[in-house]
């Protein structure tokens, strides 16, 4: 097993160079897949039997929800790497990914709520998934505000990593409790049919959107990480040389 790859990952300069080369690919693929997926979902996918055309919101809601959750998981892995192996790049990833995760969580909540109106008759409904997503948004805000409150970068990174890890331990507990709470308070006659039984014509655009959103996320995280690296490493020779060009 080539461990040199992981050691290289510890170097911001290496990451900066290689991400610069990979960035255009992610940008192009991401935007292309998102556009194709949206048009496919909006125009070409068949109408849903129960929900009519409003179900097309799924092509936005589900990918953003998936990303919102996996972004936090990625941050948790990074936090572990940061605390155990003290890798700078892991800290930088957490700083860069957190606002994005929060943004997509918000979008998932918004699209979920807007989907709720024609489907369940109300703009907001305290169902298990939306409520758990709301708590996830709070967790993101906590990470973002803790990071911005501490001035010293090293301290801020370590504190944020601890917080992210505490949060990730809590997430299964929170999800379980919210789902349980929801079954308790849900009126018995309510039928939740969020994911209609899907034929390939329906879930293929969804797959395209999910891959597209991951590529888009990677592209934007790389952009943010490059900015962060420039700021943090501004006193090093290679950054000075880079700016001078």
């Amino acid at each position: 097993m080539k461990w040199t790859f992981f050691h290289k990952l510890g170097s911001p300069k290496w990451f900066f160079d290689i991400s610069g080369k990979l960035l255009p690919w992610f940008v192009v693929t991401g935007i292309l897949l998102l556009v194709i997926g949206s048009i496919w979902g909006l125009v070409f996918a068949p109408k849903d039997y129960q929900q009519g055309d409003s179900f097309r919101i799924i092509y936005l809601h589900v990918p953003t929800a998936i990303l919102a959750q996996s972004c936090y998981m990625m941050m948790a892995v990074s936090a572990l790497v940061s605390l155990v192996w003290k890798m700078k790049l892991a800290d930088i990833f957490i700083t860069s990914a957190a606002p994005l995760g929060a943004l997509f969580t918000f979008l998932a909540l918004f699209t979920g709520a807007v989907w709720g109106k024609p489907t369940w008759g109300t703009w907001w409904v305290w169902d298990a998934r939306l409520t758990a997503m709301l708590v996830l948004l709070f967790l993101y805000f906590g990470v973002i505000s803790l990071q911005s409150a501490i001035d010293d970068i090293q301290l801020a990174s370590k504190a944020t990593s601890i917080l992210v890890l505490v949060g990730v331990v809590n997430i299964p507990i929170i999800k379980y409790s919210v789902e349980w709470w929801n079954t308790l308070h849900q009126p018995a006659t309510f039928k939740l049919t969020e994911k209609p039984a899907m034929v390939p014509e329906m879930w293929m655009p969804l797959l395209v959107m999910v891959i597209g959103i991951y590529c888009f996320f990677t592209a934007v995280v790389i952009l943010r990480m490059r900015n962060e690296i420039l700021m943090r490493e501004r006193k090093t020779k290679w950054v000075q040389a880079f700016i001078f060009k």
């Binding site: 967790l139 805000f141 505000s145 803790l146 504190a159 890890l165 507990i173 409790s177 709470w181």
Partner: protein
């Protein structure tokens, strides 16, 4: 001629820590009365803000009491580490030969006896003001006894992360409250079940699990955060 150094064992250290906490708290009594008053004010705000209708209040009473307990615990968390950080004793704890984990556990325990217990003691009065039935009070108090230590322990993590900040304001609450949601859900669920006539054993078991989890895991995070905060 070498002087023999007395080895101070774990038990003595923990006892000293607890005694010190109580002594400091006694000297700053007001700081521990404030959260209780805050608790009472929150309870009073609901009838004033929404409706004094007994039917509504008795339905909302469990949740309101629990939310009040959560918020006033958040308020009291400042006292946990701030003074120790300022006078340098937090560093002494970190440097001590005894495990920081246990010292943190001791501090959290003392803090709970000073904030959580008084809260639990006045809760029956406040709950009855919200028209909660007499017979459900034991359930409410049991959930408070099991749940408030969890909030104190998780809150300790948040307090430890922010202790080196000048003015953290509501940052600690922002960090900690989402993590206490499961406690809130199961505690209120338990009392609700008691009101509905069902058994509360399952809920109490889950609350017990959360309590055990936090007693064993939270001090790890707290001590890591404390070591971090004093190191800069």
């Amino acid at each position: 001629m070498s002087q023999s150094v007395e080895y101070i064992g774990l038990g003595k250290v923990l006892k000293e820590v607890c005694l010190r906490e109580y002594l400091c708290a006694f000297r700053h009594r007001q700081a521990f009365i404030n959260p209780l008053v805050f608790f009472a004010i929150i309870i009073a705000l609901f009838p004033l803000g929404v409706s004094p209708d007994p039917k509504f209040l008795s339905m909302a009473s469990v949740g309101v009491v629990w939310v009040g307990a959560l918020l006033s615990t958040m308020l009291s968390l400042d006292n946990l580490f701030m003074k120790d950080y300022e006078d340098g004793s937090l560093e002494q704890f970190v440097l001590s030969a005894q495990p920081l984990y246990l010292i943190m556990l001791a501090k959290s325990f003392v803090h709970w006896t000073l904030t959580g217990l008084p809260l639990i003691i006045i809760s029956p009065l406040l709950a009855m003001m919200l028209y909660l039935d007499f017979e459900h009070l034991p359930a409410l108090m049991l959930t408070l006894i099991m749940g408030t230590p969890v909030i104190n322990l998780i809150g300790g993590i948040g307090a430890a992360l922010t202790v080196s900040l000048r003015s953290s304001g509501v940052l600690v609450s922002l960090l900690v409250l989402p993590l206490t949601i499961p406690v809130l859900i199961f505690a209120t669920g338990a009392v609700q079940a008691s009101i509905d006539g069902a058994s509360i054993n399952g809920y109490i078991a889950i609350l017990g699990m959360l309590l055990m989890l936090s007693i064993t895991l939270a001090p790890f995070a707290t001590s890591a955060a404390i070591k971090l905060s004093v190191s800069n």
